[in-house]
């Protein structure tokens, strides 16, 4: 996991007068899952568009396997599998036909083509409905087919733009099981963009991207350690009265929001019994404790909220 597969160096992109990418640099190592985490409009999709050759860069360099390449160059495109943010399937065709068209675009020999399609249909659990029209598929099935399609030419690097948008919790978890399996079995490197902290947590390293700039780049564990404390969330009757009591007796500063109390404290687990004792019996309907997630770290480091959407 030490060799660099893809390196993006000082990428700057203008759209009209607007600088949408500001000297962005990052690298993806072999076998690594690297994520760009940022809110919508932060420059994630723009970065991918430059890699795919769909958008020109004003300046900057791209290196693949140590060799400088142009965004969208044929060598780069042959080595990359792409999962687009928007659907890229032919809805009138079946899964098998979609895979066949992609296999032909990459000129897979006929014999190899059929084996590969069967493998991918099996891998994506679509073999039983392979000849059904894609428009009849669920959102999760379509996403699985998109992933299968991107793997048709056995790429070294999988580039995924918001790969789990619109998926429910079950489909989200299954997608990630598949991606981790791919990395393990084929040593595939993955570059993905996301605005979901729970998705970023699956990455080996994450780059925070905000307003076209890379703010920080590190492992999820290391980033999470930058924000300390536990979040306590209390649902209870008369939140204002309870908040006064906590301020007076425990010398803490709770936030009252929509009838709930929110506290950020060190060692939340030891505070919970004291809160239960302090507040009137039966007034608490629930107490919930969470560790800060990558969204909280993002907010802490950039002052910017990620999107509200979460699984």
């Amino acid at each position: 996991m030490s060799d660099t597969l893809l390196e993006v160096r000082d990428l700057t992109v203008h759209r009209g007068d607007l600088e949408v990418l500001k000297s962005l640099s990052f690298e993806v190592k072999e076998g690594e899952i690297f994520g760009l985490l940022g809110p919508n409009g932060s420059g994630k999709s723009t970065t991918f568009s430059v890699l795919m050759g769909l958008l020109p860069a004003l300046s900057g360099q791209i290196f693949f396997n140590g060799r400088e390449v142009e965004g969208g160059s044929k060598d780069l495109l042959r080595s990359m599998g792409i999962v687009f943010q928007n659907p890229s399937l032919d809805q009138l065709m079946s899964a098998r036909e979609n895979l066949e068209m992609s296999a032909k675009l990459y000129r897979l020999p006929r014999k190899k083509r059929q084996d590969r399609i069967e493998d991918l249909l099996r891998f994506s659990d679509l073999i039983d409905r392979a000849d059904e029209r894609v428009s009849n598929y669920s959102g999760g099935m379509k996403r699985r087919l998109e992933l299968a399609r991107s793997l048709i030419h056995d790429p070294k690097l999988l580039v995924m733009d918001e790969p789990t948008t619109g998926l429910d919790e079950g489909a989200f978890q299954r997608t990630w099981r598949r991606l981790l399996q791919l990395r393990q079995e084929r040593g595939l490197s993955i570059l993905l963009s996301t605005h979901r902290p729970e998705e970023a947590a699956f990455c080996d390293r994450i780059g925070f991207i905000s307003d076209g700039k890379l703010i920080v780049c590190d492992t999820p564990q290391s980033l999470q350690s930058q924000v300390s404390g536990d979040h306590l969330n209390l649902k209870l009757d008369q939140a204002e009265t309870a908040a006064d009591l906590i301020r007076e007796k425990l010398n803490l500063e709770p936030i009252v929001s929509e009838g709930q109390l929110k506290l950020t404290v060190e060692e939340g687990h030891s505070l919970i019994p004291r809160l239960v004792e302090l507040l009137p019996a039966g007034s608490i309907s629930s107490i919930n404790m969470t560790r800060p997630d990558l969204g909280d770290v993002f907010l802490h480091l950039t002052g910017e909220q990620l999107a509200e959407e979460s699984v």
Binding site: R78, K104, L105
Partner: protein, 260 residues
Amino acid sequence: MNIADQWATISVLWGRDLSRFLRKPSRLIGAFMQPIIFWLMIGGGLTSTFKISGAESLNYEQYFFPGVVVMLVLFAAIFGTITVIEDRHEGFLQSVLTAPGSRSALVLGKALGVSSVGLIQATAFLALAPLAGFSYASIDWLNLYFFLLLGSVALSTFGFALAWWLDSSQAYHAIMSIILIPGWILSGAMFPINHDQLVLSKVMNFNPMSYIVDGVRRSFYSDIPLGTTVSNSALIDLVVVLGFTAFSLLWANIIVNRSK
């Protein structure tokens, strides 16, 4: 540039358009019935009032028949290329754009796919030629298909360039309503050129579709009835249609390679 990569893109897009057309029975029935109904309705309605001086024996159904053939090719080009707008941003074309084939191959593959659909529809309608009074033996099929093929490629690449350039279905619909459909009406497909009407006759002379209709119309006669074509020379028809095809191909290639 790898030729095999280009051919892969061309053949995938070509096959895809054909396959999408052939697999929808409702679309097939509509595609074959609509021109027949159109020809019978308008042809039947106007046949008693329509007369061309010098070619009085020609009835309107006969006059209108080549016009309907070109209409089929035009409609196939319009409906085959308007889908490019969505397909490019939220469809299969995204994966073609990031595949090893070039964008010029994408233009050609799409043009051949759309043209094939238009030619299949035109062929089905041409089977009815004896009903319009044209025996199969009297038709110059080679000339007919030469003009239909060139016309199809020209109109489909023109439509493709328009779709790519406008990048909006609403804008494409607007252009279709104010340029493409009126362009067909003013091509000699529905009525012959009248030199007394200066503006209209000028428009018909400058309209490249007029020369496609002329070329198709000439294929039905060994001696073309006077006053039924926009130009007086088969050579002019050929040169203009070749020029229009070359222009459309060039424009589509420039547009698709320049845009990102």
